[in-house]
């Protein structure tokens, strides 16, 4: 097959059995690959109502048709499963070398089923697949795991693994690859831990063929030229990384601070992209085939917060900084290093600590429970708690359940800042209301990268929209959600969208796969994927009542800054969103809509 490896590996851990299947090219065309195709397989094979940590759940590692080609930013891959944090369908995206290597080894996808009795790892060496014991790696962090596996198997292997957080079923554990790249959100690492799968090692010597090399080459070069001319991708991201947003979003009054009590942080500058570049940046690092290279290789020398690794990215510098009231960049970096090493999502980790800090300041919980003075701004406690969470030690065991379950446990569910049990990322929707709609409708709970409304609302578009007004938000949000679903499925990075002006994605897909995709068909595929995910969540027990936001965003006006006095007028956007989606007033896709999409 062109663009696809054409093969799927199915690994049953309960029975220790590995089989290989052919990729269905009809399904590949309709769901593209990556997120879409894996979601289709999960929906078909797994009952949506299952416990995500049960052996009946499946864990799918999935590359896209553009993964492993020269398509700029096309090194991405996805993990799809039912999320341990959210009970929704989960799809977490990562960069690095792992996804391309999987294609070179001859597989588009690895479907992991069942659960092993004792720790195992899967070794994929070109066509040869083998399950090996991993008892000796169990208990090790992701970095040590990779170092040991490099020694054992060879330096040309690439890895995806879980750390202690995944092993201990921390609800927001991530799967790490190439040491510091993360399939971060929704608890995909906990699912891997529940299956006792420590790591996947992969090495491939094969290649990826495209249907029309000449047309593909031209589109790649055109897109490279555009990425080199757009300010965000040629200057902002390479120079300052994703944290370049810190000062921008803070100035807009959309930077959630101290568990969203405020929407501007007085110490934003000290944890900004500029501060990272000046104080801790060693070098940039790019994912495969990416001309942007926004990755930050960083190092904190000496002292109690000494360490090295990558990041923090914008979301992490917010969750482990502004949201917990910590302005000490070294402490934030250290907390982030620990998240990467132990394999957990810094967004949910930081936000859950922020929620606990508010519970503490409200007097709901005390030092006898937390073991420390958990006031906002306590940097030492933050860093300490990171390893406690990963090891489920002391109060870390409570935090490891995530903010929704924790706030519920202490009788204050309204203090959880997230939706569908997943913590929000770094945008206060009261300063940018369309992001509120995105949070409420996201198929994996609180999330920005399923429909990045910050582009139109705060970064000048296109299209540029007034962040305070609900007008026109539903239509733009739906458009972004659909296009993003297609990008995630193709294997491109979301950041390519800063430079996608027209038909680049369908052009790349057509030249690569040989399917005669029209632009409308690619957008329709995104729409199909979105609706499929929605159906999964409805089957899991979610209803339109869950398409909502915490009371704080709906009815507590922002206390200061440019968004002062604002709330999110969700009721002025959501009915229009349902209507434009072709859903009924209870948020259910209509028969007509589903038949249009072939679902």
């Amino acid at each position: 097959m062109n663009a696809y490896a054409g093969k799927v590996a199915r690994v049953n851990l309960s029975r220790g059995k590995i089989t290989t299947e052919k990729l269905d090219s009809k399904l590949a065309r309709a769901f593209i690959g990556g997120r879409g195709l894996a979601s289709k397989i999960l929906s078909d094979e797994v009952g949506a109502a299952i416990d995500p940590l049960a052996a009946a759940n499946k864990l799918i590692f999935s590359a896209g048709p553009l993964t492993g080609t020269a398509a700029p930013t096309g090194g991405r891959w996805m993990v799809v499963t039912k999320g341990a944090l959210t009970d929704t369908i989960a799809s977490s995206n990562a960069g690095g070398d792992f996804g391309p290597e999987l294609k070179y080894a001859g597989y588009d996808m690895v479907i992991v089923e069942g659960a092993a009795k004792t720790p195992v790892m899967l070794v994929i060496d070109d066509g040869a697949l083998e399950l090996c014991p991993a008892d000796k790696l169990w208990g090790q962090d992701c970095h040590v795991t990779e170092d040991k596996l490099h020694e054992q198997l060879g330096s040309d292997f690439k890895f995806a693994s879980i750390g202690q957080a995944g092993e201990n079923l921390v609800r927001f554990a991530s799967i790490m690859n190439d040491k510091n790249r993360a399939a971060g959100r929704s608890g995909v690492g906990a699912v891997m831990g529940s299956k006792k799968l420590k790591a996947i090692a992969v090495r491939g010597s094969g290649g990826v063929t495209v249907a029309d090399p000449k047309a593909f080459r031209k589109t790649c070069l055109d897109l490279l030229a555009t990425l080199a001319s757009v300010e965000v991708t040629s200057q902002g991201l390479p120079r300052l990384g994703t944290a370049s947003l810190m000062n921008v979003v803070n100035a807009c009054g959309a930077l959630p601070t101290r568990n969203f009590r405020e929407s501007q942080f007085e110490s934003a500058a000290t944890i900004s992209g500029e501060a990272i570049a000046e104080k801790i940046l060693v070098r940039n690092r790019a994912c495969v085939a990416c001309p942007i290279g926004c990755g930050r290789v960083t190092s904190v020398k000496n002292g109690k917060y000494g360490g090295k690794g990558e990041g923090p990215e914008y979301e992490a510098v917010w969750s482990l900084g502004a949201d917990v009231g910590v302005g000490d960049l070294q402490a934030v970096a250290k907390a982030n290093f620990i998240c990467n090493e132990m394999g957990m999502d810094p967004i949910s980790a930081g936000s859950t600590v922020a929620c606990a800090m508010e519970l503490f300041e409200e007097g709901v919980i005390g030092e006898s429970q937390t073991g420390c003075n958990l006031r906002f701004g306590n940097a030492e406690a933050l860093v300490e708690l990171m390893s406690d969470i990963g090891n489920r030690r002391g109060f870390g065991d409570v935090l490891a359940e995530g903010g929704a379950r924790m706030a519920q446990k202490f009788g204050r569910p309204e203090l959880f800042m997230g939706s569908k049990k997943q913590e929000f990322p770094a945008y206060d929707a009261r300063g940018a209301v369309g992001m509120g709609l995105q949070y409420a409708t996201s198929n994996r709970g609180g999330c920005h990268v399923r429909g990045y409304m910050t582009g139109p609302e705060l970064l000048g578009g296109p299209p540029a929209l007034d962040p305070r007004s609900p007008k026109g938000k539903a239509e733009v949000n739906i458009g972004l959600q659909n296009v993003t679903a297609a990008l995630d499925s193709a294997g491109l990075c979301l950041f390519s969208s800063f430079a996608l002006a027209g038909t680049e994605l369908p052009d790349l897909l057509r030249a690569a796969t040989g399917f005669d995709y029209e632009p409308a068909e690619v957008v329709a595929a995104g729409d199909r994927i979105w609706n499929l995910e929605r159906l999964f969540n409805l089957g899991s027990g979610y209803t339109h009542k869950d398409d909502t936001l915490p009371k704080r965003l709906l009815s507590e006006p922002a206390p200061g800054g440019p968004a002062k006095g604002m709330t999110v007028p969700l009721d002025q956007m959501l009915p229009e969103y349902y209507r434009l989606r072709g859903w009924d007033d209870k948020g259910r896709p209509t028969k007509k809509k589903l038949s249009e999409l072939g679902l």
């Binding site: 492993g68 080609t69 020269a70 700029p72 391309p100 070179y104 190439d178 040491k179 491939g204 010597s205 094969g206 290649g207 990826v208 063929t209 495209v210 090399p213 080459r217 790649c220 070069l221 490279l224 990425l227 080199a228 060693v282 070098r283 940039n284 690092r285 790019a286 994912c287 495969v288 085939a289 990416c290 001309p291 290279g293 290789v297 090295k308």
Partner: protein, 159 residues
């Protein structure tokens, strides 16, 4: 005037687009394992740079080849493998100080400068790989070193 493929390790970001471009041009597939240029990546040290044939003037590979399969292209100055003379003995790989000659399908494989328009340079998004005229290739490095030294001296004298 001949041009030379020039590497600037400071500019490399480890994106490996050079490997994609090279393998696609030479094998028709995106296949890094068969690229003539490979990026050496030391993630823990944050060091990465492309490794590729330097087209040495006094090329050890040509000297050791027992079947005169390696020849100098008069126009591009590239050392080329003549497939039907190559006996696949791999002695050139051993002789190459850069390890820049690989071997598959029974023949030695190396950078041929794509006939004078290297595809890796076309795809490199930074200036990690460039293709300047030969005299510029050394002056550019000298200038870059001088610039860095100036910056350091400025810092030292300022503090």
């Amino acid at each position: 005037m001949a041009r030379v493929l020039t590497i600037d390790p400071a500019e490399c970001t480890s994106c490996r687009l050079c490997e994609m471009a090279c393998s696609s041009a030479h094998t028709g597939q995106f296949r890094p394992s068969r690229a003539n240029v490979r990026v050496a990546i030391y993630p823990d040290d944050a060091i990465y740079f492309p490794v590729v044939c330097m087209q040495c003037d006094d090329a050890p590979c040509m000297a050791v080849c027992p079947s005169a399969a390696l020849v100098r292209d008069a126009e591009t100055n590239a050392v080329l493998v003549i497939d039907n003379r190559c006996v696949g003995c791999r002695i050139c790989s051993l002789a190459c100080p850069f390890g820049a000659i690989s071997y598959w399908d029974g023949k030695a494989r190396k950078c041929d400068l794509c006939g004078g328009s290297p595809e890796c340079v076309t795809f490199c998004p930074t200036d990690a790989l460039t293709f300047p005229a030969v005299e510029k290739s050394t002056t550019a490095a000298r200038q870059a070193f001088a610039d860095r030294l100036r910056d350091t001296l400025k810092e030292v004298t300022a503090s």
